[in-house]
């Protein structure tokens, strides 16, 4: 590491003066910590404000919502909007559909994506570069441009207005990202670990299963969360592919709060709060794995 001379000089002089006043350095350190903490909280507040606005609105009575002078805190607090939202037809059906779609899609995507990632990370083979470029390139196609051909393709096999059709589309949309990320995680696990297990008599598959798989688990969790959010929040494909209200997803259900004379803010915000909760809960639950998982996967590429 080459450090410019001038910088060294600065550092030296600062060290000298700090040594002369230890209490001052401690004070400096503590106030800097305080500054960082304050900054962190300020950023959190700034990022959260629109979300706060959503949740606060969900608790406001109808007339308090659209006002020229905004009300910062819901008062009085009402649960009316939540009742209105849940009472809307097909709420439970659509929640169940969304859970089914995301659940089945995730299991399939993890299985297929994991195999593909192992293939790309552990083996050199002819066409690997093409394969990797294809995985990135597929993500560049705008989904909106594919609405009609996707519909026609699924129509040909009778999968329009059926959950498997949507699952298939989400699977294809999520897989490239998944393969790409998981590939990084697998590549990051030293091959030596597996090889030593093989010397001990394990089969190659056994070694992989017992040694590598557990180490990649956090990566699976991380990519699962990414894909879960993508699929749970998707709207236009679900809207076009699914026509009968009992077959729709939760985002299409949310769209029913927007009528031809604007959104019904109260129930819409309540509905959005309800639908957002499962994702946030899932995420918070796995947050630790996510950070650990991403770390393993990303740095070594």
């Amino acid at each position: 590491m080459i450090i410019p001379r001038a910088a060294q000089g600065v550092q030296v002089s600062r060290t000298k003066s700090a040594a002369g006043a230890v209490s001052f350095a401690g004070l400096w350190h503590r106030s800097r910590q305080l500054l960082f903490d304050a900054l962190g909280l300020a950023i959190a507040a700034l990022m959260l404000f629109p979300i706060y606005w959503m949740v606060a609105t969900a608790f406001k009575p109808g007339r308090e919502i659209l006002t020229l002078t905004p009300t910062w805190f819901p008062s009085p607090i009402t649960l009316q909007n939540f009742q209105d939202a849940i009472a809307r037809p097909f709420f439970l059906d659509d929640v169940r559909n969304s859970l089914t779609i995301v659940g089945v899609m995730l299991v399939l995507a993890l299985a297929v994506g994991f195999l593909a990632a192992v293939g790309a990370a552990r083996f050199g083979f002819r066409g690997r570069t093409t394969y990797l470029v294809m995985i990135i390139g597929v993500q560049m196609v705008p989904l909106n441009a594919l609405i009609i051909p996707l519909y026609l393709t699924l129509d040909n096999v009778g999968l329009v207005d059926a959950l498997p059709g949507v699952i298939a589309v989400y699977l294809a949309a999520v897989l490239p990202f998944m393969i790409w990320t998981l590939r990084g995680f697998v590549a990051n696990i030293p091959l030596e670990l597996e090889e030593s297990a093989m010397i001990d008599g394990s089969s190659r598959f056994g070694a992989f299963w017992r040694i590598t798989f557990p180490l990649v688990a956090p990566g699976l969790v991380a990519t699962a969360i990414f894909s879960c959010i993508q699929a749970w929040n998707e709207y236009i494909i679900a809207y076009v592919l699914l026509s009968s209200p009992s077959n729709q997803t939760i985002t299409v259900w949310l769209a029913s709060f927007t009528t031809n004379h604007g959104p019904q803010w109260g129930p819409l915000m309540a509905g959005a709060t309800i639908t957002g909760l499962p994702v946030v809960a899932f995420f918070l639950l796995l947050q630790r794995y996510l950070v650990g998982g991403l770390t393993a996967g990303s740095v070594k590429g």
Partner: protein, 424 residues
């Protein structure tokens, strides 16, 4: 794509073969499943249930699925569905969209069946026009919406106005009285007019004898730049600049919520918006006793300006395997009994002049307005004019002063001429 094309043709043929409609004249022997798309909020559930019960009594072995569709991106969904092998048998279409789908061959020509629908001789003319493409009938009028001015009686009284205005000049004069009486309120609008609200701008164009476009010899020519159209737009621009503090680039989606906040004396609105303004969720029920309505006045004192007749029609898909059943369902839905239900329970304007007497109270004003109504140019390319935002963009340029009226209208007219004649 070839493969898809063949597949769809085969599927369509297969479905056609299975169709039982027309095999027998006895309704009780008819079988099949009808899929019907209605828009979210167009008909009350009780009316739809009643219609389906009536239909079931006649066709006990036919299953009817009424699926409510959401408004956002409905055009995308319709395009895609009609491209597929089994589009919904009956679809509610906004009346300005019919020509597009009819001309593309998505809808069945029902000219020969017109007489089988109740009241077809007294259907509202503008709705019938919207269903008619090249002289053929492609849909059944469903319901209409026409606009009038909703106003606050208490604010009028406080400003010393005793009766609603009966001419455009008086509308301006009364509006200015209201502005003066409420000059301490920086949010006050005597007439709240969002800049992109083109449905409400058309009456001004029409009232002075102008139009969006005229057709001669099969060619359309945009006429928003005609001197009479410009006169109407000048009058409107003057009203907006003096009486409105609404967003000059916004649309009308929020106007009811804004009105409920109490800083507005008048809005141009549909009859059903009274319900939105006074609803407990988002509106203000306390305003119920303080609302009045009057027709948009003409510049000729004592007359009414023609209004745009919005609304919906019901079309049968050309690819439907059960076209006769689909028409039978529409017959039930639009018969005398159920149209009366739509008017009395749903509060919308029914499809026939014979039922316009059902409008009571404030609603009577809106029902009456429907009698003197007009429609947009009936061209298969009209939807493209709408989707290209030609008129809203022109209005925004005029109201914000970005362009003078002659320039803005000339540009819009050129564009409309080009689009209606099949150009981009």
């Amino acid at each position: 794509m070839g493969v898809i094309g063949v597949g769809v043709a085969l599927l369509a043929a297969a479905c056609g073969g299975n169709s039982s409609s027309g095999n027998s004249n006895n309704p009780a022997n008819e079988t099949g499943t009808l899929t019907i798309w209605l828009m979210n909020g167009s008909a009350p559930q009780s009316v739809v249930d009643g219609v389906n019960a009536d239909f079931k009594a006649k066709y006990p072995n036919v299953t009817v699925n009424v699926e409510l569709q959401q408004w956002g991106d409905i055009g995308t969904k319709l395009d895609t569905a009609y491209a597929g092998s089994s589009p919904p048998d009956v679809v509610e279409l906004g009346n300005t969209l019919v020509a597009k789908y009819a001309a593309a061959g998505a809808l069945e020509d029902i000219s020969g069946k017109k007489a089988s629908f109740d009241n077809s001789s007294t259907w509202l003319q503008s709705l019938t026009d919207s269903c008619t493409v090249n002289g053929k009938l492609y849909c059944v009028p469903y319901y209409a919406g026409s606009r009038a001015i909703i106003y606050r009686t208490d604010l009028f009284a406080a400003a010393g106005i005793t009766a609603p205005p009966t001419s455009m000049d008086q509308l301006l004069a009364d509006g200015q009285k209201l502005m003066t009486a409420n000059s301490s309120d920086p949010n006050f609008s005597a007439l709240y007019f969002p800049g992109k609200y083109w449905y409400a701008a058309l009456p001004f164009v029409w009232d002075f004898g102008g139009d969006i476009a005229t057709q001669s010899g099969g060619k359309w020519s945009g006429s928003l730049n005609s001197s009479s159209s410009q006169q109407g737009l000048t009058t409107l621009a003057n009203l907006v600049s003096k009486l409105s503090r609404a967003d000059k680039t916004g649309d009308e989606a929020k106007q009811d919520a804004a009105f409920a906040q109490g800083h507005i004396a008048m809005i141009i609105a549909n009859g059903w918006e009274v319900g939105v303004i006074t609803s407990a969720t988002g509106g203000n029920p306390a305003l119920a006793s303080k609302l009045g309505a009057f027709p948009i006045p003409s510049h000729n004192a004592g007359q009414q300006a023609p209004v745009f007749l919005g609304g919906s029609d019901l079309g049968v898909a050309a690819k439907s395997a059960h076209r006769d059943l689909a028409n039978a369902w529409i017959q039930t839905f639009t018969n005398q009994k159920n149209m009366t239900q739509m008017a009395t329970v749903g509060g919308v304007i029914p499809n026939t002049t014979s039922l316009l007497g059902l409008g009571q109270g404030l609603n009577a004003v809106f029902y009456n307005a429907a009698k003197n109504s007009k429609f947009v140019p009936n061209s298969e390319n009209w939807a493209n004019v709408e989707n290209a935002n030609v008129i809203p963009d022109m209005l925004v340029k005029i109201f914000t002063g970005q362009q003078a009226i002659p320039d803005a209208t000339a540009a819009a007219s050129t564009k409309i001429t080009s689009i209606l004649n099949g150009g981009g």
